[in-house]
Structures are given as C-alpha cells and as structure tokens.
Subunit: 239 residues, 7 copies
C-alpha cells in the first residue's frame, strides 16, 4: 500500500489506484472501524439491532446519542461510524419511506429502502467535491417477504445478512456470530448472543446506558427501541 | 500523526486519512480549544451557561463581545471558538426557531433545534469548497421534556450532557465537573460550581466584565442573560 | 509504466498519457479484475449468464447480492466489478428499456440498449469531476436479429461475443472458452461449460448460493434467473 | 520533450508548452496511433473507406465492432482510435445531417459536416474539465462538388485528402499510398490498393471478419457498407 | 510557524492548521499592519476617528485618498488596510443603512450595522474561491444607546472599544491609549490624544494633508469629517 | 526565464509572473511561430493577404486547408497558428459582421470588427478554465476610412500595419518588408513582394497549391480569394 | 521575497502571503512597468494626458494603437500596461458614463467614474478564477469640482494627483515631475514638461507618431485628442 498512497491515489474519490481500488472508500470503512460496534441479528421471530455507545464523559446523557433509529413503523436502522453522516442517511431513509406511502399507499420494502440509500451512497463515490459517507447502516425490517437485515457499504454496495457486526472489533464479533448463530434462535436468544459478543470484545461494562437495542417482531411488525429497564433485564440475563 | 499530515490528508474536508480521520474536523476542534472556556450545567431547576471572555485590551467594551445568546424565549446558547462562525449558527438557530413557531404554532424543542443546527454543521464536513465550523455551541432550553443541555460538535454530531465544558482547559474543567456535579444541585450552586471551575484553570481574575452567564429556570421557562450586578453577586460568593 | 504513473498521467480521467493511454480507464478495468468472474455464453438456443459471487461471511444472505439482473422481459445483464456502479447502469438500462416501449411501442434491441449504456459510460471518461465506471456488464437478449451477447467496457466501447468471461481469472477462462466453445452447443451444455470454467479457476466449491445463472431461450424469449434448485441440478451435472 | 513533460505542460488541455504545443492534443493523436489502421481513398468514381479491426478473441463477434459508419444517405465515416469517443462524433454527425435536411430541405455537404464536427472537437481543446477526442474520423461523401474525403484532427483542424491512412503504421501506409495512388484509379482498384496496404503492415491475415469496407459511388450517391461476401471477393483479389 | 506554513495550511481560507488557525485570516491582519495607523476614541461627548495617510508623492492629492467615511447621518467609519477592500465594505454599510431606513423608518444602530458587515466578512473566511478582507474598519456612531465604537476583524468577529488603534504600530499606540485614556475626556482632548499617539510612532510630520479626522458629537448626532483648517487647528495644539 | 517557468508561473492564464508576464499568452505566440508564415500588405490600391500552407502529404487536397477567409463582402482575414482556433474567430467575425448589418443597416468597419474579436481574445487571457487563442489573424478590409490592415494578438491587443508577417520566420520577413515596402506600391507589386518574402525564407517551392492569396481593391471594395490560375500567374512573375 | 514566492503565495489572487501581500497584484503592477510611460498633469487650465507608444515595426500604423481614450465629452483616460485589459476598462467606463447620463440626466463626475472602475478592478483581486487587471488608467476630466486627475491601481485603490507618471521609468519621471511641477503651469507648459520627461528617460526620438496627447481645457470642458500636427508643434517646442 505504501507506494500507492505515497503516489496520491488515495486523495480523491474520483481516482482509481493502479490496482483498481478506491482508497477513499476504504478509508471511510476505517472511519467506521473507529466507532464502537453495532450488531444486527435476524431470526424467524424478527430482527434485533444492538449497538454499543461510547460515553465521552460520566455526565453525558446516554439517551442523547442515538445509534438505533426507527425509520418507519416496520423498519429500523442501527449505525456505526460518524453520527453526522448517519443522520443524513436516516433523514433520507425516512423521506423515502414516507414518499413510498404517499405514492403507492403501502409501506416501502426493506430491500427497496436499502437500495435507495445505497444509490445515494454510490453518488458520493463517483463525483468530485464530496467524500464518501463514513458510516455503515444495518437496516432491519419486516415486509411481505418476512424479516430482513441489510448492511449498507460506503462503496454503494449492500448485503443481506442473517447476523453481522460492524465497527470496532467487528472481525472478532463476526467470528463469534458465525459460530454461535443458529437459524432457530428466538429473538431473545439473539439479543443475548449480541450482548455476549459485545461483552467479549470490550472491557467496559455494559449498562443500560451504553447499550441501545431496537427490535421488530414478526407477530406485530412494529419496530421499537427498548427502554432502559428492558435493556437492563437482558443485561442481567447475560451477566 | 506525522506521516498522515505530511501526506496531505489534512488539507481538505473531503478527504479521509487512511485511518478514517477527517483531520480538518479535528483541527476545527483545535480552534475551539484555543478559545477561553465555556461551561453548561443542567439541574432539575434549569440550565446555566457560563462563559469566560478574553479581554483583548483594558479599553475593550466587555459587553460588545457576546458568548451567550438568547435564541428564543425558552432556549439559549453559549459558544467557544470563532465568533464569526458562532454568529452564523446563532442566526440560523433563531431562524429555525421562528420558523417552527410560524409553521407549527409552538416553540421548537431544544433537541430539534440542536439537530437542525448539526445538520448544517455536517454539510460543512462533506462538501468541497468550505471548511468545518470552528465553534462549539452549548444549547440549553426547557420544553415539555424538561431542561436539556446539548453540545454541537464540528463533525455534525451532537451530545446531551448534565454538565460539560468546552474550550481551553476544558479537559481539566470536565474532570472537576465529573467530581463535583450532583443531580440535586440548585441552579445557584451550579453557577457557583461553574465559576469555581473557571477560577481554577485561569490565573486571570474573574470579573463581572469577563464572565457571561445565561440561565433558564423551570419555574418561568424564560432564558435570560445576567446583568453585571447579578454576575458580581455570584462572583462574590465564590471569592 | 513506471515513468508515466510517477509523472501523474493516471490521476485524472481528462488526461492522456504521452503514449495515448487513459490510465484511469485502465485502472477501472483493474477494479473489475478484482471481482469474482462472470461469464456469458450465446448459443443458437439463447444466451446464458453465469456469475460467481464472493460470500463475505457464512451468515451473508446469498440472494441479497445480485450479479445477474433482469432488464426487460427479453434482456438480462450480468456484472463484474463494483456493485454500486453496476446498479447505476442497471437502473439506467431499465429506464432506457421502458422509455423505448413507451416511445416506440416495441421492445428495445439488445444492441441499442448496449449502445445507450456505453454512451453514458463514455461521458464518464471525458469529463472532469467524475471517475469511470468500475464495472463491466454482459448484456444478453433476444430480438428480431436473434440472440445476442454484448460486453460494455469502462472506456465506452462495447463488443459482441459468442462467449466471454470478465473479472478475476478471466484470461484463463477465456482461453478455455475459446477451446471448448462450439456453435452447436445446447444452452444446457453452455451452462455446464461455464460452470466448469468457474470450477477450474477457483478453489472454493461452487454451490447454489455462490453461483447465479440467468438465461433466455429463443423459444419463449423471456429472460429468467434460475432458482436454487435449478442451479443445484446444473452443479450436480458438473460435479 | 523530456523537460517539457517533466514540467507538467502536458497535464491539461488549457496549457500551452513554452514552444507552443498542446501536449494533450498530441497525446490524443498517440491514442489514435495505438489503434489498427483505417484508410480512405477518393477516386473519380467515388470514395472508399477501409478499416482493419483488432479481434480481441476468437469468440468476439466481428460485426459488433464498427469502424465504418453510414452518416447519411450520401456520407459515410471511418474511425481510428477510441470507440466510445468515435460514437460521440458519429452521433453528432447524424444529428447535424438530419438537422440540415430539416432546416434547409437538402442534404448537408461533406465539407460542412466536417467543419461542424471539427468545431465540436476544437471546443474540447480549449476548455478545462474535458480531454480532447482520442479519435480521428475519415469522412467520405458525394455532393454537388463531387466526391470528397476529409480527415478530422484532434486539434480541431481538418484536411481534405485524395488518399490517407490513420492509426497504427499509418506513416508506412501513407508512403505506399503516395507512391501507388493514381487519379484514374477505379474504385475497385482503390479498394485493392487499400487492402494491399493493410496486408503489408500487419502480419495478421486479412479476413472478411477483421476488415470493414464502406463505399459511395458517384453513379448512385448512396453510401453502403460491404457485406462479408463482397469483402471476401476483394480479399481474394489481393491474396 | 515554520512547519505549518511549509506544510501549506496557509494557502487556502478553507483549511485549518493542526493547531486550529486560519492562517489566511492572520495574513489578512498582516495586510492591515502594513498600512498607516487609524485610531478611534469614544468619550461621553461622542466618537472621534483619526487616520494617518501615506502620501505616495508630493503631487498626490491628499483629499483623493479617503480613510474616513460618512456611512449615514449618525454613523461614520475609518479604515486601515487595502483601500479597494475597504470600499466594498463601506458601500455595503451604506446600503445596509439605507435599507434599514426604508424598511423600518428608522436609522440603523451602530451595533446592527457592525454585525451585518461582520457577517459578510465571515463568509469570506469559510468559502473557497475568495480571500478574507484585508482591511479593518472602526465604526463610530450615536444611537439610542449613546455613542459606540466598534472594530471589525478579518475573521468575522467584531469588538467594542473605548479607544483602539489598528494598522502599523498599533501595538505601541494601544499601549499609550490604555495609559492615557480617561472616561471623562472631552472630544477635543480625545482628538489631541489620538494625534499625539500618531506623532509618537511616525517620524513623518503630521499635516492637515496626511491626517483625516471624522467625529460625531452627542449634541447634534451628525457625523462629519473635519476640513483642512479644523485639522490644522488641532495639529497646532499638539505641536 | 528558467526560474520563472520552473516556479510554475506559466501554467495558468490567470497567473502573472513576478516580472509581470502572462507566460501562457507568450506560449500562444509560440504556437503561431510554429505555423507557416502569413503576410498582409496594404497599399493605396487595397489590401493583399498572402499565406503559405504546409502540405502534410502529396495526397492532401490543398484547397481543403484554408488560411485566407472572406469575412464579409468588404473584409477578409488570413491566419497563422492553430486551424481550429482560427475557425472559432472567423465564425465569430462573420457573426459580428452580419449582426452589424442587421442592427445598423451598414457594413461593419474593419477596425470595429478587429476590436470585437480582440475583446473575445482578451477574455481568454483573464479567466480560468480556458487557454488563450493559439492563432493570429490579419484582417484586411476597405471602408469609409479607406483600406486597412490589422493584426490581432493572443493577448487581446491589436495593431494596424502597412505590411506585416506572422508565423514561422516572420522576423526575417518583417525585416525584408520594412526594407522593400513603399507607400506607392501597386497591389500587384505588393503581392509580388509578399511572394518573394515567402520564397526567401522557405526552401520548399511555392506552387499555386501551397500559397493562398486574398485581396480587396479600392475600386470595387470586394474581397476575393484568387484561384489557382491567378496565383500561378503571380508565381511565374516572381520565379 | 525569495522564500515567499518559493512557497507559492504568489500563485493565486485569493492568497495572502504571511506578511500580508497579494503578490499577484504586485506582479500586475510589474506588467504595467514593462510598458512605455504615460503621464498625466493637472493644472488650473485643465488636464493633459501624454503617452509614449512603442512602435513594434516601422510599418506599424501608429494611430491604430491607442493609449489615450475619450470616455465622454468631459472625461478622457490614458493607459499603461496590457492593451486588451485597458479596453475592458475603457468599455466599462463608457458604459458607466452613458448610464449616468441616462439615469440622472447629467454627466458623471470624474471621481465617481474612477470609483466605479476601481470597484470592478477590486473584484478581480478577491475572487478565484481570474487575474488582476494588468493595466493602470489615468483618468482626467472636468466637472463641477473643476479639473481632476485620478490613477486607478490594480489593487482596486485609486489616487488623485496633480501630476503622475506610470509605466516604464515612472520612478525617474515622477522625481522630475515633483521637482518641476508648479501649480500655476499653463496647460501648454504642462504638456512641454511631460514631453521633456519622456525625452529624458527614453533614447528613442519622440515623434508625432509615437506620442499621444489628450487634453481637456476648463474653458470648453471638451476632452480631445491632439492630431499629428498639433503634437508635432509641441515636439518642436521641446526639441
């Protein structure tokens, strides 16, 4: 990598390196890796999004920092990376979702929403004067095709997952997920699996303050974020 | 940091460094660190904003330099960093606030105002041809959710706090705040805590000229800036 | 190449090198070479598009990553390279196709569709502020002129083929194709030829998850993507 | 040349070198020189355009790559250089031609068409943000002034010729043309002369697949491209 | 400073240095320091603006170079720095002032005018394609809040002063002002103080040609520029 | 010159060198010097424009390359430099001329036409994103003020001449012209003088193919280009 | 100067050097210094503008190169520097002048005209994508305030003068002017003084061809340019 970066191929989003890389996109992924991890797990019962938050100070208000967002009644998202960049995408997601309801009188599918966001993200990898988004979203929702979980990538690609982690230590968490994930997990077990992963990679104790959980169950198809007490109960189970 | 900055990753807001940093945003934070400290403290009784001002000359008119601003009847803000940049944000804050009253016939919430400003700040971190805002705002207000205190960050992120300091020596002040802050502080005690913090980090004597204080009490929900005499009384209490 | 790249001729799409090369276009081809291979084969019975997908994790949902796309009833496409870039072209292809039906009340020909996409691709090689598309599409369809198979090139050129591979190891696969291709192949034999090529160049076992197949037969002129079972049957035949 | 290119005068179309050169235009000519040769010959009977094509693979469909184009009933063109760039000019040529028929109810003259295209080409040599066209067109047509043959140059100049070759080995072919060309050649003799030139400079055997011929005869004033059989007959004559 | 400037942080207004400086703004201040000094003094009787002019030649017409400007009946300004830049701000000041009279049927306050100009100045510190204003204005006026004196800063900040000097030797003059300024100065004494300061820092003799004086008295609230004779009288008093 | 060019002052039209030069304009003049010479001579009888053309090949059609242009009935122009750039100016000249006839019902004067073109040329020396015109026009015409001959300069200046040469060897030709020119030359003698100058500086034999002559006589005030026979006659006279 | 220029502070108009200089403006002044001198002298009788022209060739038509321009009946201007740049300003001056007559039914004052032009000139020192004007105008006129003489500066400043020279050797001429200028000069004496200055600094003999004189007398307030005979008479007086 030495030569290529020295030669400046990584200074602009509109420049490929000789081996066909877009370094600025790869560096945007590095920005995500600097942030605390976020995990998404899909089961037959629904989708859970679990995010670890970094408390900058004991006096910070945990609730003020959101990593898990309700996009529409039936879709939620969790982010890792730059908060400001995430908000741009979340705002756009809500607009796309509303606009679908207005135009077609029906909720947007999780896949279509993911694709629309990814189209926006791709634009920021091919045009001068901007930088790629330094954020990854995990988008979970339930529609006619059942529960689904997608990951947006700073390159404009997106991928569906049964379970996936992004952010710091995501490689280690993903290894654990690959070992422990079972198709027949209940959503509660999925949440506990996610929390156990977070515990394993981070010395800082998990609390109902530095953990955020959002979930959507197939039985009511409503995405909701858990309150402190609920999070506390899950934490107790994994302690 | 040596290699990265030498390689020029810190010359444009639209360029990530290989380790995923936006150096220009970090340097904007440095611009804030060069300015005298500003403190925000939230208690059950309301929110206090306390700012230290640097007098460039004995003949400077202290009142002419504002670091604490009334945004709307129920919201105020205090800044640290570049005055000119702060004014852009304060002007925008007032417009957002008025526009909310016009459109929805009700005062804007402190959180929504903070988010709107942060959306603007984020734009200045992703588009070529501009630089990030070299200023941090502490926004304090009271709405249906009670008192709240937010800090905008040059990256476009924002954070809620019980108490926080920004600007020169903010690390030392924040340590003190973490030790001394109690949920059951009265607003008067909060102001005294803030002034004591300022005293500790700065040799220059605090006067009713080089200190600005703004506060909003839950009982009347009106943000007001203290006059010289009032500030003088508080200063006497901590001397 | 050393001198030319050192001299910076490869930093912008609007700059020729002294020997008349557009390096950024060549690097876009490198981006395609980094991706798993995609193969198109045309026979008298129709056209088959076969794509190998890289599974980033065992928990990735294979179906979520599309390399083969239905463009219109009578045309499909397969891609190798950047997913986000491919989607831009696929979206445009669908629009061109619909617009042809609306304006002329008849399906677009495969050649005209290819030419329209290539015109767009060329624009991204002559104007500042963008980069070339880091993707190659194989476009297969059936119209009045019979079955046809085209490859778009990041330079804005396009080529018709009887059979062709793009992406990683495409040189080796193309050698095999040149040896084994016969005009009188049945479409089933063509698919088996393609799968055998993929097997030869990649250690990873082919599964109905990491292979995508799309085909259009002259008898019904409908492009369809094969389901897992169908793919499984073909894989069994070549194992 | 060393010093000038080292000093960067060849990095932008809007920069002259100290000795008054536009290097980017000269490099665009180099791009043309990388492509297989194209020949135009004008006789009293009409104009012939003969182009050699490079087959990238035995499985490439020769017909899919066009180097000779019908522009209007009475005008054709042959290209050497970048296919995508050629298509931009050919599309424009067809538009200019149609627009002339619409506005003036008569076919455009070969000279006027050449001049219009060259005006477009010149624009790409004087404005920032683009690169010159990496292609040369030979334009042959018949109008009231009889048969004519023009060559467009990447600088925006154009030249009329009795016979001319562009692309790889064009210097050697032009030498032969200068020796062998006679005013009283029949069009058939002209085609044979062109094919003999191609044979001389290229080891690869000429076939009805890798040669394209377009011609327009004074007797019917209709530009047409020869089919494989017709090309085959001419090839037999020169073998 | 060596490293930072060598590294190019001072080449564009849109780039912060690692320690949070906007070098181009600091260099704009240097442009002001190259110009002869300008002094503003506020007393209970009103405001005086005193400017030293550099005579480029004995044949220059002193009156043709203005450093003190009437903005509106009740406000004046004095500048140090680039004349052309000053004129842009003075023109804008007059427009803002007129526009306030038209919209609100009342004179603009000195503070509001200063803020409006500073907003313009700030824009030139955050957007690419421009440079900061290389000028400082001292703005003096009288409104309902009494006499006031403001200084605009190239960063977009502004400060109120009792007395202040800008331009060459302003540090030395400001030291003298701090020593000699008394709240109960008469406006005449203020002018004499200003002239004495100018005498002290400049060997060149003060004349009614190279000194400009503007003043506004609380008793009539009309800003006026002194004529040569009046200036001559003051000069006699301090000789 | 070494230091200045090394320092990059010659890379952009919008940059002066320390000694006040616009190098890009000077290099545009170099582009003209690379082209075969063009001569203009004014006598009491009218104006003659004589241009030498470089034949790229024996098979080039001499007529296809124009260096002398009829602008309007009473004005002609001859160029040296880049053909494409010349055409831009000639097209504009014809438009200006027509537009004058339309607006004022009278022919444009030679001086006004020259000034309008030079205004366009100047724009290309002061604005970024373009390069200067690499061409010089000699404009000859007859209007109420009699015959006149102007030269446009790439800097946007223009000059009137009795006789002048531009292009290759123009210094030597101008020396000859200064010696041999007499006010009382007939137009025929002027043409012979011009042809003799061309003969002297160029080894290549002058022919009716590689020489172009345009002239306008005061007796009919119609600019016309000479045909081959006419040119042949003049060539015979000077052989 | 070495370090600053080496560091590139002089490459763009939008960049200050560390010591507050705009090098591009200073280099524009160098462009003026390369041109032959132009002198303006104001007396009680009126204003005289005297310009030396450089004859590029004995065959150049002296009249075709104008350095002195009539702007309006009562105002004239003389230039030194780039002819093309001067024409832009002169054209603008005439428009401003006409527009004043149309809007206010009265002639524009010399000062207002000068200020308007200087506002335009200033724009070219603060915005990217252009260069400063490489020209200085001396503007002489008579209005209600009597005769006046102004000099525009490439920085956007302007200065009034009793007498001033710009261009080559202007420093030496200005020294002479300072010595010899008297308030009670007649306009004839002023012209002779100017011509004597030109003689002193330039070896080339002054002739009625290479000198231009424009003047406006208070008695008729009409700016006129002297004809050759009139200039000849003055030249005889100073020989």
């Amino acid at each position: 990598m030495f030569t290529s970066t020295m030669a400046g191929y990584d200074r602009a989003i509109t420049v490929f390196s000789p081996d066909g890389k877009l370094f600025q996109v790869e560096y945007a992924v590095s920005a995500v890796k600097r942030a605390p991890p976020t995990i998404g797990i899909k089961t037959k019962e629904g989708v859970a999004l679990i995010a670890k938050k970094r408390m900058l100070s004991k006096l910070m208000e945990a609730e003020s920092v959101e990593k898990v967002f309700r996009i529409d009644e039936h879709i939620g998202a969790a982010m890792a990376g730059l908060y400001g960049d995430a908000r741009v995408l979340v705002n756009r997601a809500r607009e796309e979702s509303q606009s679908n309801r207005l135009s077609f009188k029906e909720p947007i599918t999780t896949l279509l929403l993911t694709r629309r966001l990814s189209n926006l993200i791709q634009l920021f990898t091919q045009n001068a004067g901007v930088r790629p988004f330094g954020v990854i979203l995990l988008i979970g929702g339930i529609d006619d095709s059942g529960p689904s979980l997608y990951m947006t990538h700073p390159s404009g690609a997106y991928y569906g997952y049964k379970a996936v982690a992004v952010g710091a230590e995501s490689d280690r968490i993903n290894e654990v997920l690959e070992k422990k994930y079972r198709e027949d997990l209940s959503l509660d077990e999925a949440i506990k699996l996610g929390l156990n992963c977070l515990k394993e990679v981070d010395k800082e104790e998990l609390t109902s303050e530095n953990v955020e959980i959002g979930l959507i169950r197939i039985k009511d198809k409503k995405f909701k974020k858990l309150g402190r007490e609920e999070i506390g109960k899950y934490l107790k189970m994994v302690s």
